[in-house]
Structures are given as structure tokens and as C-alpha cells.
Subunit: 225 residues, 2 copies
């Protein structure tokens, strides 16, 4: 881990869920200081303890409520179910000013989760940008990664498409993708997040249709210089 | 080629463009009777002749205007630039009643073609469904395939996500995907076409960013039974 990583603190709001825990585990392993946020600080402390156990005691993962986590972090990652999206954003709005905000939320509308149904803003990430306002760069990423492989060591056979409100923000987010052991691609402006969020519904449909639990996508025909 | 294929006639409207010609070539090679449609029947005849040359005279490819092609075909495929989308649809509306309609159109809005900008209907395919009305099954497919490999023999390293207004229609379209030598996936209802159409803008962005001309995607973590 480099000096820059050592100084960075990542908050994972809704980090008691499977996706959040998986990402937190991988980032802590890569040397980031990780804060698990939850509506209940008790649950956050329990989840942090579970991740620390998986890490065999190396690394730093601490649990607290969402607001405290957002306040203490340099980078804030949101991994809540869509039903909690707006409320969580409103509750941390002041705390994330000037920070990089990474939205992992997929706006699934039960029971038809395999059908793309975007909110009026165009996507969850665009909704987050509307709520958080100027001064917060919003990036959308990690929506297509199946949680089941994140807590293991193995390769994840799904690339991460990173969209967001500025190129610098996408560049910063791509460092977190790499730190998690994943392959990431700058996929353009935040308007493109509808594709990446919607792709989750497509993959859920493909899972059902072809009998899988972890379909994903990989980008082909291009290599990183 | 099986008996069913032999009886099927596929019209490729806007088939004088690169994508349309590539698909027409592959389908003719697989034994489908192919009609190239264009606003100008003269251009359509020229394009059909070019494809026949590539086929060394085996196969059936005939050029005519869009309306005649739509009238004479069992399956109608639309490969026009988005600017011609609505007009072409209106012009063949009566001719495609009761047929399978495959929309390849990507609603790119120049000059920002790497930014997803969908029409009010949600996607080009949903717009086509609105215009064509009941009695026409609309499927969206082939939007992400780079034309440059279609006219060759080689493998195309990009899967085809097939969305559409009914499962039967998607199933029929998947046969055309296979006939073209491509790997296709049933990607769900027509509402999911926003993902597949929008993915073209994402891939254009990735091409620019990472220096390619033919990035694509492949579905991972799932196999066909």
C-alpha cells in the first residue's frame, strides 16, 4: 500500500449488507482505513468485527452510525437498498460536502427487479447528485458485482463500469476498484449510470433465465495501456 | 440450414449502412433470403450486389426500397441512423403488422454520442413499439456489435443482449443472432432496451478513452444449457 492509501478513510454506508461488507473487506485488506456505517451503530460494530475476523486482525475496520462514518471519511460509499436511498442521502448531505461520493445503489422496484425502472432523475446516481448538490462529486460503480465472491480471495469475473460527474472523480474511484482486486473502466459521464444500474436488472433476468446466481459482464476488444 | 430458415425472408431496412450490410451478409450466408431496403432502391440494389459478391454468388440478397422490403419479408430489421428512425417506422407501419420487428437503432444525439440520451419513450425500441402499435412484436438487438468484424469470417468478441416485447419474439430473434455467428442472451422485457442501447454510448466512450474501435461486452458467470 502506498502513502496515499494509508491516509485515506473510506466510509461504507449501509456497510452491514452483503455488498457493503464485501467491498469493506477488500478495501481494508488493501490498506484503506474503513468505517462501516449503518442506521444502527450496534449493527455496524458487529459487522466491523466480522470483517476484522476475516482479516485475521490486520487492517482497520470500525463500526458506527452512517452520519459519523460520513463525517470521518475522505471517501463515502453508499450501499443501501433503494428504499433507503433518499433518506440516507439527506441525512449525510452536510457531512459529504467536498468529498468523493460513490453510489452503489441500484433502483430496483420489487417485485419486478428484472425490469429496468429508473427514477425520474434518470438513475439513482443522478438522483444522488441532485440531492447532494454542487461541491460533491458523485460516481456510480460496483452495481453489477455479485456479492458472493467479494468476501473470498478469488477473481471476480465481472468488470466495473465507472460513471460519474467528473473525470477526476472517476479516476479516484477507479483506484478503489483496483484496490478491491477488480477490473474497472471509465465509462463516462453520470448520464451513463442508467446503463450500469440498469444492467443489474438485465443480469438478474439472465441469472433467472439461464440458471446462475452471479452472471456479470466483461469489456472486450480493448486493453489498458 | 434447416427447413424453417429456408422459408424465412429477412428485410434489412437501412441495409446499405455498414451494420446492416454486415448483418445481411451473415444471414444470407446462413441460408436466409435477405432483402436490402433503403430509401433509394438504386442504392439498395448496389449494396445487395456488393454482398452477393462477398458471398461468391451463393445465397440470396436482393435490393429494393424500404417499403417493398418490409412488405415481402417475414422478419423486418431496422438499421437506420436515429434521425431516420421515426420516419422509416411510419413508412412501413402497415407492412410490418403481425411480423417480428428487430430494432438495431441506437438513439445517439450528436455531437455527444458518448453520453446516454434516451428519447421520451425510454429507448428507441420502446419508441418503435409505440409507433408500430399492437400486433407487432418489437425486439431490440445488435446495437453493441462493431460493424467492422461482421463482414469477415472471424469471431465477434461481443455478445448480443436481446430485449423485447415478448419472450417468443426474443426467442425468434435469438435464432437470428446464432445464425449470424454471434452469442446471444435473452435480456428481458423491452424496458431493458435502455441498457443495451445506452451501452453503445458507453462503449464509444471506452473506445475513445482507451484507444480502441471495437470494444464490446461478454456475459460471464453463466452458461447455456
Amino acid at each position: 500500500m502506498d502513502k496515499e492509501t494509508l491516509m485515506l478513510t473510506v466510509a461504507v454506508l449501509g456497510g452491514t449488507g452483503k455488498e457493503g461488507k464485501g467491498l469493506a473487506y477488500r478495501w481494508a485488506k488493501a490498506g484503506y482505513k474503513v468505517l462501516i456505517g449503518s442506521r444502527s451503530s450496534e449493527k455496524a460494530v458487529t459487522a466491523a468485527g466480522e470483517i476484522m475476523e476475516l482479516l485475521d486482525g490486520t487492517g482497520s475496520v470500525v463500526g458506527m452510525n452512517n452520519l459519523e462514518a460520513a463525517q470521518q471519511a475522505n471517501i463515502v460509499v453508499l450501499t443501501v437498498p433503494y428504499a433507503a436511498h433518499r433518506d440516507t442521502l439527506e441525512s449525510v448531505k452536510e457531512a459529504v460536502k467536498g468529498k468523493l461520493f460513490i453510489d452503489v445503489t441500484v433502483p430496483l422496484v420489487p417485485p419486478k427487479v428484472s425490469k429496468v425502472q429508473m427514477p425520474p432523475a434518470g438513475s439513482a446516481a443522478q438522483e444522488a447528485k441532485e440531492i447532494l448538490g454542487e461541491g460533491v462529486e458523485v460516481v456510480a460503480a460496483f452495481q453489477n458485482i455479485s456479492h458472493e465472491h467479494l468476501l473470498g480471495e478469488g477473481d471476480v469475473e465481472c468488470d466495473v463500469l465507472v460513471t460519474g460527474s467528473s473525470k477526476d472523480a472517476r479516476h479516484e474511484a477507479l483506484k478503489l476498484v483496483e484496490a478491491a482486486g477488480l477490473v474497472g473502466w471509465d465509462a463516462g459521464p453520470i448520464e451513463n449510470s442508467v446503463v450500469v444500474e440498469g444492467l443489474t436488472s438485465v443480469l438478474i433476468y439472465i441469472n433467472k433465465q439461464y440458471g446462475s446466481t452471479h452472471s456479470g459482464i466483461q469489456v472486450t476488444g480493448v486493453s489498458k495501456k
